[in-house]
Point group: C2
Chain length 183, copies 2
Amino acid sequence: MNQPISTQEKLLSAARNLFWTRGYSNVSVRDIAKDAGADAALVSRYFGSKQGLFEATLSEIPPWPALNAAPGDLLDAAAASFSRPFDPCADQANPFTMLMANVNDPEMGQTVREMVQRHLADPLAEKLGGPKADTRAAMLLGALFGMALMRKHFQLEALASGSVNEIEAQIRHLAQAAMRFAE
Amino acid sequence: MNQPISTQEKLLSAARNLFWTRGYSNVSVRDIAKDAGADAALVSRYFGSKQGLFEATLSEIPPWPALNAAPGDLLDAAAASFSRPFDPCADQANPFTMLMANVNDPEMGQTVREMVQRHLADPLAEKLGGPKADTRAAMLLGALFGMALMRKHFQLEALASGSVNEIEAQIRHLAQAAMRFAE
DNA sequence: CCGGGAAGTCAACACTTGTTGACAACTGCC
DNA sequence: GGCAGTTGTCAACAAGTGTTGACTTCCCGG
């Protein structure tokens, strides 16, 4: 166990940490190489280009667990998936922060937008069903991302210091309202 | 009336459009100068630096109208201020998009975070009053920004094509739930 | 031992960035 | 007209960007 980590894996891990928190354009390959303790030229060698490295970090994201939850557990699963990473990586960068950090990126924004539509909004609408399923799905995601924005990005004092239980309760409250929306 | 617009004003207007939609680091002074039909060197001359130009675009933002609304109209005012710009500028860039486009910026993120805390979250909590006012204010802003994120940034199909009335009704629904939160 | 391929290092490239200073053109006042 | 002050233009700079190619170093099978 615990076999020595290859330089390629170190680069991928450092890239995930930096790209997923700072955003694609705000990270240079030299930043990544420095964090990985490697040479910047190896990025082009192993991944073809900076863009190739970014896409490599995207390729290993598992599907959102809330989509497989039982209908009664959907709210809990959704709330939990924000405050805790839902992927195997142990660091703080998680797929939600990645989406928010890169939506506005001039080069990767389109890629990220399509991911949200196809991997989150569309499957969630299908799972919800009923009238205005797509609208309610979008509102549920809005509540989820909105609270993430307030807590992690804007770092509002009222939320930043709260416990995991508190933030989950707040998200559940908003998400529940979203699910019940029918004009 | 309609006096000739100075080059300085053209630069400021172009800077607002670009900084407020693409984000500070994703815009170069040459981009701004090109849009304004001026020379990039004039940015440093008139505003001291690129950062000075950005701060000039921030200095003329009026207070959020929802904070002056009657208690009964707060929800309507809040919902309206998202879908329509609440400042005098006629273009599509509004203070909310500015906040979202720059919260993750490596240079201006801190400035923007403090603006949200001091100009939105704190006054809103004071206006709401009652138990957990700061938490409910943060949740209300979370609902507001979350829906803005889904509609304008992620451009979810279920929301992007909706009318102003529809998006306002959705925001009101979530914001109302936020105001009623008490654990 | 030895040759080949992988792994890593380093310098250089073309390009973009913000900023500066020298220079030209124009305006209004004496 | 002559002159000062503003306004605009242009070239250049230092720094940082992604990427490439040549080079050395290491390891392992023959």
